[in-house]
């Protein structure tokens, strides 16, 4: 990480703490709910930023990975295994003996048996990584329009599968997902009492994610990725294994999306098919584009701003239209992102000139 990135990370921590204190002081802690959700969506965005900005590959299917993570974890932690145990299912008994299952009583006082959120989450991440790996190998051989359509197609398939599968609740999605106890006393759920701690959980994850990605970008891998972005053929000729690096980054960013999906599903206590929709994927791409593609901090800033405004309902029924319009305007007039406009450079240059005078 560069010195500038350490500074930015410190600023991020300061802003996160400041906002929490400010909401407490002004008694507006209800904002924290949307800010927590924004944090999880930001996790998807920084992951996608790695693929789009640094490796130069478009993915219009990231909501699919988000959904695979969220839905797998949600289904495992809400599917009642008691009947299977009574039938003497070997796998369920094995899991039960290893302490990977939780048994509680439901509303009607019946005994129910669920998978513990920890193994469920780990399984969800592994599943997502495997799917991303298997999809990534053939898909990332494609370029341009073909890559866009293939990833879009993947997203639609996930959406259709979610909509048509009974375990995933079809059009209703999965609700009443239990909280995710990270450590004793620290639980990811939507309780009012846990609002502050959940806000910090979400943003710690974002911070860890950003630091991991920035380290990656400033390593050998990152330089290889930028070489691929610049010219894939030239990178290949210089001995960079472009196919492998592209698939790795794809898997990493899919895992980011899956982790976001898992945490958000537990936090909201529910997940619906709209999370897997095409508009979600398009929205992630739009935010990365607005942030300036190859700018982790730019994407993060824009992601927080736009997601928060959208979640607060500021765009009303024009939500998607606003994102569509922003996408077009940015790509027409500022294809390098809002924060890379020549205007800013002029301003910073004139400030520097004044200081020199």
């Amino acid at each position: 990480m560069a010195v500038k990135d350490y500074l930015s990370a410190l600023i991020l921590i300061a802003v996160v703490v400041f906002i929490q204190l400010a909401t407490k002081a002004t008694d507006t802690s209800y904002y924290l709910t949307q800010l927590t959700m924004t944090g999880y969506y930001s996790l998807v965005i920084i992951g996608l930023c790695l693929v789009m900005g640094y490796a130069g590959q478009i993915s219009l299917g990231h909501a699919g990975f988000f959904a695979i993570g969220g839905y797998t974890s949600a289904a495992l932690t809400t599917y009642n295994l008691t009947p299977l145990l009574e039938q003497g299912n070997g796998l369920v008994r094995f899991l039960s003996d290893k302490g990977l299952l939780i048994s509680t009583l439901n509303l009607y006082g019946e005994a129910v048996l669920y998978v513990n959120p920890w193994p469920a989450a780990i399984l969800a991440v592994i599943l997502t990584a495997c799917i991303a790996f298997l999809i990534g190998i053939p898909v990332l051989k494609l370029k341009g329009h073909y890559l866009a359509m293939a990833t879009l197609g993947f997203g639609i398939i996930i959406y259709r599968v979610v909509l048509a599968t009974e375990i995933f609740g079809e059009a209703d999605g999965i609700s009443e997902i239990p909280g995710f106890t990270l450590f004793p006393g620290v639980c990811v759920n939507g309780d009012f009492g846990n609002r502050v701690i959940n806000y910090y959980i979400a943003w710690s994850l974002v911070l860890i994610g950003v630091i991991l990605l920035l380290n990656l970008i400033h390593s050998r891998v990152g330089r290889a990725l930028r070489a691929i972005h610049g010219s894939e053929d030239a990178a290949n000729a210089m001995g960079v294994n472009t196919a492998r690096y592209k698939v790795y980054t794809f898997v990493i960013s899919a895992v980011f999306a899956a982790v976001a999906g898992i945490f958000l599903a537990h936090y909201n206590g529910g997940i619906g098919p709209s999370e897997a929709g095409i508009m979600k994927s398009v929205r992630y791409v739009a935010i990365v584009a607005i942030g300036g593609m190859a700018s982790m901090w730019g994407s993060l800033t824009m992601g927080v701003l736009l997601n928060f405004m959208s979640l607060r309902g500021m765009f009303g029924s024009y939500d998607d239209a606003v994102f569509g319009a922003i996408m077009i305007i940015i790509m027409l007039f500022a294809p390098n992102g809002l924060l890379n406009l020549p205007v800013w450079q002029k301003i910073s240059k004139s400030i520097a000139d004044k200081e020199n005078d």
Binding site: G56, I58, V139, Y146, F154, A164, S317, A325
Partner: protein
Amino acid sequence: MTTELFTQYLFAGITYGIIYAVVAIGFNIIYNTTGIINFAQGEFVMLGGMISISLNPLMPLPLAIGLAVMLTTLIGALIEMVFIRWLVHPSVLRMIIITIGISILIREVALHIWGEGVRSLPYFYGNEISSIDILGAHVSPQVLWVVGVCSIIVTLLSLFFKFTPLGQEMLACSANRLAATLCGINAKNMVTLSFMLSAGIGALAGCVVSPITYTQYDCGTGLAIKGFTVAVLGGLGNSMAAVAAGLLLGILEAFSIHIFPLAFQDAISISILLLILFIRPHGLFGSKEAAELKEF
């Protein structure tokens, strides 16, 4: 499977297939002149259907359809002039994001004008229950309308590109834009024209198919991705192959209902897209060498 059932599926497949083919030809026309895949292609079909449905109570059906096609053609021209005409060598990624943005905007405008409801034009001849017996299967007369109109579109287009000066100029632009410009062809106008053409044929297809498949504000996305599947299946840029590929996909999809649940119908055709992209990205009828020279 009985013969009647087979014919029934076959006709359903042909109906959808020919619509996909028209959408694919729309993709091809724009791709040939600009190298852009217009992600808003499906929205033209939706607009054609929606506008004609709104105009239908005010005037006779043929007039409503004609006016809807003209309006959509104008919208196509407008989109090209406002968003695309003045960009200098835009990157593929940039064009993908812009055309996706356009498709979202059109869809949202349609949502706010026409609402979420499902609408449809009346049947051109007869009604929902009238049918014609063909080889023991009951086929709605509207199916014949769809197949007839789409076949006429395809034939007229190929005649247009072969025999009219304007069509030849467009072909020249797709073969070599710089050379065409040097010959005095206004390449920019040809691009506008290609947007108008593909918007127009999309809208016409949207009108004739509306009584069977109904029109909804968000029906464009599904059509676009299937149209693209067909365009790739036939080899991007090759309109005649798109017809064959369209019929193939439509029929495959229709018969897939016999085996898989209906809910997976879309997933199946998209899996075909992924498969063809992985195995034969130059299409069933395209040449591999030619495809490698193109920019995607």
